[in-house]
C-alpha cells in the first residue's frame, strides 16, 4: 500500500525537479477477472491487471499531462518529463492551480473483505446460474452476451500542495443482453445490468429473469399510432433520456463556456416542482462512491434540483477557482486524462402514487421501458425510438410497440412532469453513474408511428 504513494511522490518530486511549479500524480493499480458468455454459452474467462499513472503539471500556470501504465523509475521519469515539456508549450491560464488538501472522511463499505477470495470458479458459477435462469424462464429467450466481472483496485493521489490519499475499492458487476426469438420474429434487444461494492449484494438470477421477462414481453410488438399523448418513462428510460443532458447542463465547465441551457439559472425554476435530484458521492457502499475524487478532494452530498429549482452546479477545482469558490468534489476520470467533471450516485426523489396509478390515469399514451436516442445536451432536443414500450389506452397497457418514436425538448419535458411513482429502481453503470429513479410521467409529447 505504501508503495503506491511512494510512486506518486517520485512522480511529483521529479516534476518539480524538471521545472514544474505544481504537480499531481494519480495512480491506479488493480486486478480484474471476468467471465463472458456469447450466444447462450460460456465463452471466455479473462484476468488482467489494470494499472495506470497520470501526471498533471503546471509550469507558469500552463498545463501539461502525461500518462503511462508501466511503473519502473525510468519510465516514470520519462513520462514526467513529457508532461513538463508539454506545459512549456501550452498557453498560460490563471486558473491552473492545484487544490489545497481538505479533510477526508473515509466512506465505509467500498471494499468487500471477500473480494480477494472471489475467483474464476465463483465467477463461472455465477455466470452459469444467470444463463440457466434466463433460459429456463422461456425457451424463446436468446442470450447474445452476458458478463460477470469482479475488480479490485487501489487508487492513490498526491499533489505538491499536500494532498495525499489512497483507497482500496472493490466492484462486482454483471450484465446480460439479448432478445427473444419466436420462429421468424425477432424482438428488440434488451439488457439488464447491476453493480455493487460487495459480491453478496448482486443477484444474478434476478437480473437474468428480469431481462428474460422484458424480451419475452416485447414479442408480438406492432407499430404504434401517431398522436400527442402521455409517456411514462421507466428508470432505464430515465437514465437513457434524461441523465446525460441534465448532467451536461449542470457541469460547471459547460455552464462557464456557454454550452449549458441552465447557465445563470441557479435559484430559478428549471423543472416541475415535483422534481428533486441529489448527488451523493459519500453514500456508504455506493457503487459510485469514493472517499475522494480524481483530485483527492472529498465528494459531497449535493442537491442539484430541489422542488424544480436549480440549486447547484458540479465543480472540479479548476472550474471552482474561476468563480472564486470551492470544488464540490466532482472531479472525475481515470489515469489517462486530465480531471473532468462527473456525477456519482444520483437519486431522483420518488413520488406518492404507485406505478399502476400513474398508468391508470392515462387516457392514451406509452409506457417506455427502453428508449434509444442521442439526446442533444446543448439544445435539449431529443428524438428517438421506443425500443421497449407498451401502448396505454384508457388506463391499461394494451400491447407492445415497435417503430414508434417520440420527439421534443428534454428541458421542456422537465416542466411537463405529471407524476412520479412511489417505486424506485437502482441502476449502476460500473464506474460511470449510479441512479435511483422512480417511473416518471410526462404529458403532451409528440408520438410518431412508423
Amino acid at each position: 500500500m505504501i508503495e503506491l504513494l511512494n510512486l506518486c511522490e517520485l512522480a511529483v518530486e521529479t516534476a518539480l525537479k524538471f521545472g514544474a511549479d505544481e504537480a499531481e500524480a494519480f495512480l491506479t493499480r488493480g486486478r480484474e477477472i471476468s467471465v463472458r458468455a456469447e450466444a447462450n454459452e460460456l465463452k471466455l474467462a479473462t484476468s488482467h491487471a489494470a494499472d495506470g499513472l497520470g501526471i498533471r503539471v503546471f509550469s507558469d500556470r500552463a498545463l501539461g499531462f502525461a500518462s503511462v501504465n508501466v511503473f519502473d523509475e525510468q519510465t516514470i521519469e520519462e513520462t514526467v518529463q513529457m508532461a513538463v515539456s508539454l506545459s512549456k508549450a501550452t498557453p498560460q491560464d490563471e486558473h491552473n492551480v492545484l487544490p489545497e488538501p481538505r479533510p477526508i472522511k473515509t466512506i465505509s463499505g467500498l471494499y468487500d473483505d471477500q473480494a480477494q477470495a472471489f475467483g474464476m470458479d465463483q465467477a463461472i458459477t455465477q455466470m452459469e446460474e444467470m444463463l440457466a435462469a434466463a433460459r429456463n424462464y422461456d425457451s424463446r429467450v436468446m442470450i447474445d452476451s452476458a458478463l460477470v466481472n469482479a475488480a479490485i483496485a487501489t487508487h492513490a493521489v498526491m499533489n505538491s500542495k499536500g494532498i495525499k490519499a489512497e483507497e482500496q475499492r472493490s466492484l462486482f458487476s454483471h450484465f446480460i443482453m439479448g432478445m427473444a426469438r419466436d420462429n421468424e420474429e425477432v424482438s428488440s434487444f434488451n439488457h439488464r445490468f447491476d453493480s455493487a461494492r460487495r459480491a453478496s449484494e448482486l443477484d444474478g438470477k434476478k437480473t437474468a429473469m428480469e431481462f428474460a421477462g422484458s424480451v419475452v414481453a416485447s414479442l408480438g410488438a406492432t407499430r404504434g399510432e401517431s398522436f400527442a399523448g402521455t409517456i411514462i418513462l421507466s428508470p432505464d428510460a430515465v437514465l437513457e433520456l434524461m441523465i446525460g443532458p441534465i448532467i451536461w447542463a449542470v457541469s460547471a465547465n459547460n455552464v462557464q463556456k456557454g454550452m449549458s441551457r441552465w447557465a445563470g439559472m441557479t435559484g430559478k425554476e428549471v423543472a416541475s416542482p415535483m422534481l428533486t435530484i441529489e448527488d451523493n458521492g459519500q453514500l456508504a457502499g455506493g457503487a459510485c462512491s469514493a472517499s475522494f475524487d480524481r483530485e483527492g478532494l472529498p465528494h459531497t452530498h449535493l442537491t442539484i434540483i430541489q422542488d424544480g429549482v436549480l440549486q447547484n452546479y458540479l465543480y472540479n477545482s479548476y472550474t471552482a477557482r474561476k468563480e472564486g469558490r470551492g470544488s464540490t468534489g466532482h472531479a472525475s476520470g481515470g489515469t489517462r486524462s486530465v480531471p473532468a467533471i462527473g456525477p456519482t450516485n444520483l437519486t431522483i426523489k420518488h413520488g406518492e402514487q404507485s406505478k399502476e396509478e400513474l398508468i391508470g390515469e392515462v387516457e392514451r399514451g406509452i409506457l417506455v421501458t427502453r428508449f434509444s436516442s442521442s439526446p442533444n445536451p446543448v439544445s435539449g432536443d431529443v428524438s428517438g425510438v421506443v425500443k421497449g414500450g407498451f401502448l396505454i389506452e384508457h388506463g391499461k397497457l394494451t400491447r407492445p410497440l415497435i417503430e414508434t418514436m417520440f420527439s421534443g425538448n428534454l428541458f421542456e419535458f422537465l416542466s411537463k412532469l405529471s407524476g412520479l411513482s412511489r417505486e424506485t429502481e437502482r441502476l449502476a453503470f460500473p464506474q460511470e453513474v449510479g441512479l435511483v429513479s422512480p417511473y416518471i410521467r410526462i404529458d403532451d409529447v409528440a408520438i410518431t408511428a412508423g
Binding site: K43, A50, T90, G178, S373, M405
Partner: protein, 459 residues
C-alpha cells in the same frame, strides 16, 4: 521482441491454440474550448494480451510488464481460463491467411514529423475561427492521434509486426439566441499522416460549422412521418455500419440476429452492394483501415451484400470454423488489455451511376438528410440515428433547412426501398468509434442513397 515472443509460444501447453499480442499505443489529445486549453494529454499504453483456446473456450489475460516471468504468468492465466470455459470437444478455429512480416500503411507525411506546438496551433486557430463569428456562443476543437505498434504471434504460424497511424480532428460550434441553443459539428479522421488528414482546410471547416449552427438556430422542426429521403454519404455509412453491419457480425448471427439463415437471399434493392473492408478503397486511407487483424489474419474486402443478395457474414477464426468459411479478418482488439472481438472496419455502400441533382429532381415531396450524429441499432435491424440537417424537397427542388431529427426504420426494409444511388462517394465516419464492450476505430461512407425512412418530428 521477436525472440522473446517466439520463445514464449512454447509455453502454451495443454491448449489447442495460443496467441501473444504486444501492443504499444502512443496517444496525443489536444483540446481547446472557448479559447481555453482543456487537454494536452500524452499517453503511452503498452503491454501484451495473451489468449488461449481450448475445447471451444477462450482464456485471456494481459500484462503491462514485458519480461519473461510476467508474460509466462499471463500465459498460465489464459490457459487456465480457456480450460475452465472450454466445454465443447471438437471445436476448432477456421482457416485463414495468416500474416508474416511487417505491415504498415503508406504514409507520406508522418505525424511524428510535426511538433506538439504545431498541433496545438492548429487546434487553437480553428477554435478561434469558429468563435470569431458573432452568432457563436461557444466553440471547441480537438486533435487526437493514436500511433500503434504491434507484434502478433500465434502458435499456428502468424508472425506479424503491424504499424498504424490514425489522426482525428473535430470542430464544434454552438449558436444561441432567445434561450435556444443549437450545435453543429464537423470531423475528419483517417489512417495516415498530417497532410492527408488536413486535405480540407480547417479554416473553411470552421466557417462551415459556425454558419450551420446559425442556420439551424432559425430552422423549424419537421413533422413526423414516413418519407422519401436522400441520405448523404455519412448517413449511408452509418446505416451500413450501425443497422446492417452489426446484424452480420457472426457472433450476433449465432445469437439469433435477423440475418440468421438468410445467406443467398435478396435482402436489399439490386442497387445495393454493401462492403466491409480492411484495406481501403477510394483515395486516401479510410479511418477504419486494418491491414492485419488481431488474430494475425490478413484482412480482406468482404462483400456483405452483392447486388441486393446477402453474401457473407463478418468472421473471426472461430466463427469461420462454425460457418465453414475462411476468416474475413474482422477480429479486433482496441488495446492490449482487450480481447479480440468481431468488429467492423470500413463499412460502405458502393457508388452507383446517378447524380445527386437527378435524384433530387425526381422527388415530389421528401427530404435531403445530411450529417450523421449518434446511432443505435437492434438485432432485428431496427435502427435510430440522429441527423444534423434536414432540407425539405418539394416538386424536385431543394427547399428550406429544418432542424436535425432522428430517423428510424427497419434497415433491410430501408435498403429494399432504395431506388437511386449516386456516383459521388466518400468516407465520412473516420472520426467515429464503435462501442461493443470495447471501442474500435471504424469508418463508413457511401454515395447519396435515396430510400424511405421514418422521420421523428414534432407533430
Amino acid at each position: 521482441m521477436h525472440e522473446l515472443l517466439e520463445s514464449l509460444l512454447g509455453e502454451f501447453s495443454g491448449v489447442e491454440y495460443g496467441e501473444l499480442r504486444y501492443h504499444e499505443r502512443k496517444g496525443l489529445i489536444v483540446s481547446v474550448r472557448q479559447g481555453e486549453l482543456e487537454a494536452a494529454n500524452s499517453t503511452v499504453y503498452s503491454g501484451i494480451g495473451v489468449r488461449a483456446f481450448h475445447h471451444g473456450g477462450w482464456g485471456f489475460s494481459s500484462t503491462s510488464r514485458i519480461d519473461r516471468e510476467s508474460i509466462k504468468g499471463a500465459i498460465l492465466d489464459a490457459i487456465s481460463g480457456a480450460r475452465a470455459a472450454g466445454k465443447k470437444e471438437g471445436a476448432r478455429l477456421g482457416e485463414a491467411s495468416l500474416a508474416t512480416g511487417r505491415f504498415a500503411p503508406e504514409i507520406e507525411d508522418p505525424l511524428s514529423a510535426h511538433s506538439f506546438e504545431e498541433k496545438l496551433a492548429l487546434v487553437r486557430q480553428a477554435e478561434s475561427k469558429v468563435r470569431s463569428f458573432p452568432f457563436i456562443a461557444s466553440a471547441a476543437c480537438s486533435y487526437r492521434e493514436n500511433l500503434d505498434h504491434k507484434y502478433i504471434y500465434t502458435t499456428d504460424g502468424a508472425r506479424a509486426e503491424v504499424i498504424d497511424s490514425k489522426p482525428e480532428f473535430r470542430l464544434f460550434g454552438v449558436a444561441a439566441a432567445n434561450g435556444d441553443r443549437v450545435e453543429a459539428r464537423e470531423s475528419m479522421g483517417i489512417t495516415g499522416g498530417w497532410t492527408d488528414l488536413l486535405r480540407k482546410d480547417p479554416d473553411e471547416l470552421a466557417e462551415t460549422v459556425a454558419r450551420r449552427a446559425r442556420d439551424l438556430l432559425g430552422a423549424k422542426h419537421p413533422a413526423g412521418e414516413r418519407a422519401v429521403v436522400i441520405l448523404d454519404p455519412g448517413l449511408a455509412g452509418l446505416l451500413s455500419h450501425e443497422a446492417i453491419g452489426h446484424t452480420v457480425e457472426a457472433d450476433f448471427v449465432l445469437s439469433g440476429a435477423i440475418t440468421k439463415g438468410k445467406l443467398g437471399q435478396k435482402v436489399a434493392s439490386e442497387l445495393v452492394t454493401l462492403v466491409d473492408s480492411g484495406p481501403s478503397q477510394y483515395g486516401r486511407l479510410a479511418g477504419g483501415t486494418v491491414l492485419v487483424d488481431d488474430e494475425g489474419v490478413i484482412t480482406e474486402r468482404t462483400e456483405v451484400i452483392k447486388d441486393g443478395i446477402l453474401k457473407s457474414y463478418l468472421h473471426n477464426r472461430e466463427s469461420a470454423a462454425l460457418f465453414e468459411v475462411r476468416s474475413t479478418g474482422n477480429a479486433r482488439a482496441y488495446e492490449y488489455s482487450d480481447e479480440p472481438l468481431i468488429r467492423m472496419r470500413n463499412t460502405y455502400i458502393e457508388p452507383g451511376d446517378r447524380t445527386l441533382e437527378e435524384m433530387i429532381s425526381e422527388i415530389n415531396e421528401g427530404y435531403l438528410l445530411k450529417g450523421a450524429g449518434g446511432g443505435q441499432a437492434d438485432a432485428n435491424a431496427e435502427f435510430m440515428f440522429s441527423v444534423q440537417e434536414a432540407y425539405r424537397i418539394k416538386d424536385g427542388k431543394l427547399g428550406e433547412l429544418l432542424r436535425g431529427v432522428a430517423i428510424s426504420g427497419q434497415a433491410f426494409e430501408v435498403l429494399q426501398s432504395v431506388d437511386a444511388v449516386s456516383k459521388e462517394f466518400r468516407f465520412d465516419m473516420g472520426a467515429g468509434y464503435c462501442g461493443k464492450l470495447q471501442m474500435a476505430k471504424v469508418d463508413g461512407g457511401g454515395p447519396f442513397v435515396r430510400c424511405k425512412a421514418i422521420i421523428g418530428g414534432r407533430k
